[in-house]
């Protein structure tokens, strides 16, 4: 009898529903008005907001929040997905699997992180921490903004959240975050481009995939993003053009340092002493050299009036001659001059 009453009431109130899912606060597709599903699956593409090139190898972390109880609810667990973007910047998060009965799905959050960029969350924006309205379940586009030195690491660490995968990748920010709370900025040069009124330039703006292809006639694709050896800072930025499906001899990279003129000179001298196979040419910028080691060609340029040094490295399959690498350096120098007019009127 008790069982009958229970079953009847279950039918009446649907109280025995296996698992319930809240309505998703995001769209099913960017161009659709319908709400998506918290259960997924999710897919999208991650691009560099500066260059609109795909960002490969970014952490893609999805987490579902589960809850149970009525009136005074309590957390009932979480489900995680850890993956990364592919060479073309695409990601896929599979559907949430089966869940224990009596549990409801209340939330899904996607986090995309790659060192050198500001992390992306599906629920909040980093800039003002306001609700993100443009996340979509299917065909989502993630534009990763490059990290800038004036940004706060303590804010960023709060933004990315916690968990094993995320904590491991962001642990390098802890010291800087702590220094901020001590009232100290992280050690090192602090030119803070963009704050002093000067033009903010990153390496990715100086050389594009199109520039390379136009010069070398390469017909393949690249995946692009900052080099993984050093993160971008106020004074340093990089861009790696990794040839898709080809050996490293097809890769191109640019590293750029923006310093005061004296320090730029010192950095250039360091490169001269450190790099192998140096020949000083002085045919681009204030000074320039070509370097070579094995199958890698390099061109270093000092732009003294702008306090800028850049180094282009190009594999021998991509830059079949030293002239190819020098031509890319000239393109970069011309673009730098266009982006950062020199008040002093130097060369």
């Amino acid at each position: 009898m008790v069982k009958f009453v229970a079953i009847s009431l279950c039918l009446l109130f649907a109280a025995c529903a296996e698992t319930s899912v809240r309505k998703a606060p995001f769209r099913v597709r960017p161009d659709a008005p319908q709400a998506g599903s918290l259960e997924g699956p999710f897919n999208g593409r991650v691009l560099d907001s500066t260059t609109h090139q795909p960002v490969a190898g970014a952490l893609v972390y999805g987490a579902w929040s589960l809850e149970r109880g009525a009136g005074l609810p309590e957390p009932a667990g979480a489900r995680e997905f850890v993956g990364s973007t592919d060479a073309a910047g695409y990601y896929k998060v599979p559907s949430l699997g089966s869940l224990p009965r009596g549990v409801r799905v209340t939330e899904f959050t996607l986090l995309v992180y790659k060192r050198g960029f500001i992390a992306y969350r599906s629920d909040r924006r980093f800039t003002d921490l306001g609700p993100r309205m443009d996340f979509a379940q299917d065909g989502n586009q993630v534009l990763l903004e490059r990290w800038r030195t004036e940004l706060s690491h303590s804010r960023h660490l709060r933004f990315v959240g916690s968990g094993t995968a995320v904590a491991a990748l962001t642990s390098w920010e802890l010291a800087d975050a702590s220094a901020e709370l001590d009232g100290k900025r992280p050690a090192g040069e602090d030119l803070r481009p963009g704050r002093t009124g000067e033009q903010y330039v990153v390496a990715a703006q100086l050389l594009t995939e199109g520039d390379i292809k136009a010069r070398t006639k390469y017909d393949g694709g690249f995946e692009t993003g900052p080099l993984s050896d050093e993160p971008d800072t106020a004074t340093y930025s990089s861009q790696h053009f990794k040839a898709l499906g080809r050996p490293e001899t097809w890769d191109v990279a640019i590293r750029m340092w923006r310093l005061d003129p004296g320090k730029a000179q010192e950095r250039y001298e360091e490169l001269l002493t450190q790099l192998p196979g140096i020949t000083e040419k002085d045919d681009v910028g204030s000074r320039s050299f070509i370097a070579s080691e094995g199958e890698i060609r390099g061109v270093g340029v000092l732009d003294a009036p702008r306090g800028t040094v850049f180094l282009i490295t190009c594999g021998s399959s991509q830059c079949t001659t030293a002239e190819d690498a020098s031509a890319l350096a000239k393109i970069v120098y011309d673009r730098l001059k266009a982006l950062v007019p020199n008040a002093g009127g130097g060369k």
């Binding site: 109130f13 109280a15 005074l72 609810p73 209340t106 975050a177």
Partner: protein, 459 residues
């Protein structure tokens, strides 16, 4: 305005939902803001946790399996879940406490306090059908609602509360006095969990329904099935601000007694402030016929009051108009229907209230965190180490020296008397990197207190 439009759009997409200030979003955000505005970072650094709020601290899962198990119930994206080794930063442990205060859900019933009746949660009468539904849920093993809760001001010191003030103090003392850095890290993490949960209990009293005896407001049917019941007000806060958007404190509230943060005889506690400032869904002014010389609807509580003259022209529209307080915050929406003034709370109005109340909640939580950390000792080195502290009652002060490896050993333990400024004088150690002192006793008000201090030795 931008935020409002965004939140309304979210509400359209997700028209219903949840329970308390949401533990892993709003509560975690409130405690994070309190920590950032408080002296906690400096205190941690002074005690040897060099990274302060971003110092990684470890509670090995084997040492606290239940705690770690409970933390696994949370989504890591909210910043309160340690890694597989039980490691996360100090700020994360504090947020973890805030998120865990509602686990198990019966503890959530102890986060209510109506200053006018001095009572906490009471299971509202929802009628026969709903009661039968509850019985069914119980029969099939679902959580049932407790009939009563312990009032929030009592819960923070209650013996059944695993995160009570007593436990906070015990862990805080060990975070200074334990021998090894690993042990101290573990105890400090545990102290922060307790502190986060205490802040959560106070912060809950920023929701009007929790301080106006309106338990029924926590049983609104919310979207995902019949069990998905909760407070729409608190859900709006979560949608509008989440964890990351919770505002910084408007000020730092100062009180000399723990209970005064909750409620005082002269109405200066958070519960008093919120109860007299806002209506809750089931304590709105009663529907009242117009016609008399003055308009005086029946009120569930003396405050807030309703002006004698309302804008009846605007109230005759379908959507009615808003009743606002002196600061311009919406208190309720009202309209005239067949000569009767009806009051209700809609999302727009509740969002205004959330926007006004969250900085105040944040201010009280920051003040409470400062209160928990208020005890400070000064250490001076002459030919001996002198430990002094002001405003302390009877207690015990322990003085320890830390060696180059970070291991601390006791130099002395001294009982202190009320009103004593110099608490201990101990022969200076021959070697060591730092001297620390920790006092446990009562303050001048008779409130339990732990006071700490440290001084580098450089020997």
């Amino acid at each position: 305005m931008k935020r409002f439009a965004a939140v309304l759009a979210l509400l359209v997409a997700a028209p219903t939902t949840v329970g308390a200030w949401e533990p892993s979003s709003t509560h975690a955000g409130l405690t994070e803001q309190a920590a950032l505005a408080s002296r906690l970072h400096k205190r941690l650094v002074s005690l040897g946790f060099g990274g302060g709020l971003f110092e990684p601290m470890t509670i090995p899962p084997a040492d606290a399996p239940k705690l770690i198990e409970a933390l696994k119930l949370l989504s890591p994206t909210h910043g309160a879940v340690p890694d597989a080794r039980g490691r996360q930063v100090a700020l994360g442990w504090l947020a973890a406490g805030a998120a865990l205060a509602d686990v198990p859900s019966s503890h959530g019933a102890n986060h209510f306090f109506d200053p006018s009746t001095k009572r906490g949660w009471t299971d509202p009468d929802r009628g026969v059908i709903a009661a039968l539904g509850d019985k069914v849920r119980e029969a099939i093993g679902r959580a049932s609602l407790p009939s009563k809760g312990i009032p929030a001001p009592e819960w923070v010191t209650h013996k059944d509360n695993p995160f009570n003030v007593e436990n906070f103090h015990a862990q805080y003392v060990k975070a200074v006095s334990a021998a090894t850095p690993g042990e101290r890290s573990r105890h400090m993490a545990a102290a922060l969990v307790a502190a986060g949960a205490i802040l959560h209990t106070l912060g809950d009293l920023g929701a009007p329904s929790r301080v106006r005896g309106d338990s029924a407001a926590h049983l609104e049917p919310l979207g995902a099935g019949p069990d998905d019941l909760g407070s729409r007000f608190e859900r709006i806060a979560a949608l509008a601000y989440g964890r990351l958007g919770v505002p910084a404190p408007s000020r730092i509230v100062t009180r000399t007694r723990l209970r005064d943060f909750f409620s005082t005889a002269d109405g200066q506690g958070l519960a008093d402030l919120v109860a007299r400032t806002y209506f809750s869904p089931n304590t709105l002014p009663a529907n009242t016929r117009i016609g008399g010389k003055t308009f005086q609807p029946k009120l569930a509580r003396p405050q807030p009051t309703v002006p004698e003259r309302l804008n009846l022209m605007a109230a005759s529209r379908d959507e009615g108009t808003m009743l606002r307080d002196k600061a311009g915050t919406c208190l309720a929406r009202y309209r005239v229907e067949r000569g009767v003034v009806e009051f209700w709370l809609d999302d727009e109005c509740m969002l205004e209230q959330v926007t006004a109340v969250l900085p105040e909640v944040s201010a009280f939580e920051t003040g409470l965190l400062e209160f928990l950390l208020r005890g400070e000792l000064q250490l001076h080195l002459t030919d001996s180490v002198v430990v002094s502290g002001a405003g302390l009652g009877p207690g015990t002060v322990e003085v320890l020296v830390e060696d180059g490896r970070g291991v601390r050993t006791k130099l002395a333990s001294v009982d202190t008397k009320p009103g004593q400024t110099e608490l201990a004088r101990v022969a200076a150690p021959a070697s060591g990197a730092r001297v620390v002192a920790v006092y446990r006793g009562t303050d001048a008000q008779g409130e339990p207190i732990v006071a700490v201090g440290a001084m580098p030795l450089g020997r």
